[in-house]
């Protein structure tokens, strides 16, 4: 596993994340049909198809530029709650990395933490409300704890924590977003946005492990 990635490496990492979303569309649709309005899969497809296009248009990007390109594309093309939330995560998360030539474990942790904070500010939600925050927040904590070991270990920890966090949303009662009004009926189903976070971080981990 690599300890850090340059801009090209980050671009490849993000392409792997996008590919995971694009091949997970049906799962995301199912998840949003159970708790929301059924469009999370097709929304994320719009956003990450645009992200792939944006990434391939970049010339010699820095890690921050690659992350920001994804955020901007997702923000512009996804729509719905997911567009704002995932766009904000990537755009805000990229900002503190500007000027850095590589993405390492600490950089990943910063990206996740800063993105998380911006998402919470934008949407007014917090952990425990059955949203993607319940995957992103534990991922950010896990990445920070493993940051010193390098990007690979930090990503592995983040992906595992995101997965556990997403799993934990099953037991939660939705109190925000379109699933909110389901009340008790929202229990038992995984939050679609949390599942997307897991797909993204899991694909990054696998990409790095394979790379």
């Amino acid at each position: 596993m690599k300890g850090a990635l340059d801009g090209e490496g980050t671009r490849a990492l993000l392409q792997a994340a996008a590919a995971a979303i694009l091949s997970g569309v049906d799962r995301l649709t199912e998840a949003d049909m159970a708790t929301g309005d059924g469009d999370h899969g097709i929304g994320m497809r719009r956003g990450f198809e645009a992200a792939v296009a944006a990434l391939s248009g970049l010339e010699a990007p820095s890690p921050a530029l690659a992350l920001k390109a994804v955020g901007t594309a997702v923000m512009a093309s996804t729509g719905g709650a997911a567009g704002a939330v995932f766009g904000t995560w990537f755009r805000a998360g990229a900002r503190p990395l500007e000027g850095q030539g590589t993405l390492d474990g600490a950089g990943l942790a910063t990206f996740l933490e800063t993105g998380l904070e911006a998402v919470c500010r934008r949407g007014g939600a917090a952990e425990g409300q059955k949203t993607m925050i319940d995957a992103l927040a534990p991922a950010a904590r896990a990445a920070r704890a493993a940051a010193g070991a390098g990007l690979g270990p930090a990503l592995a920890a983040a992906a595992a924590a995101a997965g556990a966090g997403a799993e934990a949303t099953r037991a939660m009662l939705a109190t925000t977003g379109k699933a909110r009004s389901l009340g008790e009926r929202s229990r038992g189903h995984i939050d679609p946005g949390a599942l997307s976070v897991t797909l993204i971080l899991g694909a990054m981990r696998d990409h790095l492990g394979a790379g």
Binding site: G38, G41, G79, A81, G83, T88, K178, A179, S181
Partner: protein
């Protein structure tokens, strides 16, 4: 699973083609913001407070069919059931701005709130003043003390009518915002779903109801309501829905209201008229007058069968804006 049976071209291009068809359907009175899924009036007067509406597509003729004289100045159109992205809203807002600020009026959903707020931030950077009023009329979504958790549904229809009138008459954004907040505080809606609609892109129904079940309190994207129950008579359904509305504001003897019965898609007008008969019996018994009735198809959930009932309590000021003539693709009044 079989796909819903619809007459479409490319299911992934429905919004793009719909916006093209809608611009043409306006016969020149409304034009597209170049490069964006946004439509604006051609003849917005200079110095007018601008009214920008919007939201996900798939609810046609709302929102983007409500652009016109004494209604909205423009609308940002999202994908089906998805809030428009910030840059669509931003582009639409810049196109409607006439120097007196912009009121954003839309339904209270996490996606809309965030995307419109991001656009408002961008407009702030441009030096354009924006105020936001979110419609939260769905009494089924949350109890009254959690009104910020309530969704916007067919209350949008009366809200656009009234705020459109106010924005045509008043030259101050403060005044338009004040009137919008007053109207919003007085509007209540409850819906019922009979059969599901489907997303054009997936072709899949947004929920599943048994043949003998209805869902009272259903939201405008298939979100669950207060309860799923056996189908019953029109009178019993009306009793239940009107009961929930009256208790919520609460409406009281001597009030005068505007009444909307909105078709979510595939319900027959005959059913809604039969429901109206009962609604009026109850209102007459409660001593509540009806100033105006609108029964029709405005806020749809694709081909979902079901309808909603909206009451807005009126005062002289709201009545004035409600009664103004208006013209648009989706809503007209002489």
């Amino acid at each position: 699973m079989t796909r819903a049976k619809k007459i479409l071209n490319d299911p992934r291009r429905v919004v793009e083609e719909m916006v093209e068809g809608l611009e043409l359907a306006n016969d020149g009175r409304v034009v597209r913001v170049p490069g964006h899924a946004a439509l604006v009036r051609r003849d917005i007067p200079g110095g007018k407070v601008a009214l920008l509406i919007g939201g996900g597509s798939g609810h046609e003729p709302l929102f983007h069919g409500f652009i016109g004289h004494n209604l909205a100045d423009g609308a940002a159109c999202g994908q089906v059931f998805a809030a428009p992205a910030p840059d669509i809203i931003h582009a639409a807002a810049r196109a409607v701005h006439r120097g007196r600020g912009i009121l954003f009026l839309y339904g209270n959903y996490a996606g809309d709130n965030m995307n419109f707020d991001i656009a408002a931030d961008l407009l702030g950077d441009d030096g354009i003043e924006v105020r936001t009023v979110r419609v939260r009329d769905d009494v089924a979504a949350a109890p009254p003390e959690r009104v910020h958790d309530r969704r916007g549904i067919a209350g949008d229809i009366l809200m656009i009518k009234i705020v459109g009138g106010a924005a045509a008459v008043h030259e101050s954004l403060d005044e338009v915002e004040r009137i919008a907040r007053k109207a919003e505080a007085n509007v209540r809606t409850i819906g019922v779903a009979v059969t599901a609609g489907s997303l054009p892109e997936t072709g899949r129904p947004t929920f599943v109801l048994a043949d003998d079940e209805i869902e009272v309190g259903m939201g405008a994207h298939g979100e669950a309501g207060v309860r799923r129950q056996k189908i019953t008579t029109a009178d019993a359904v009306a009793d239940q829905m009107v009961g929930a509305l009256l208790a919520d504001l609460p409406f009281a003897r001597g009030d005068e209201i505007a009444l909307v019965i909105n078709n979510f898609g595939a319900t027959t007008m005959m059913e809604m008229l039969i429901v109206n008969r009962r609604v009026r019996q109850i209102l007459a018994g409660a001593g509540i007058g009806v100033h105006r009735t609108h029964i029709g198809t405005w806020l749809t959930v694709q081909e979902m069968a079901g309808f909603s009932i909206t009451f807005m309590r009126l005062d002289d000021e709201l009545r004035r804006f409600l009664d103004m003539p208006c013209d648009s693709f989706g809503f007209q009044r002489m």
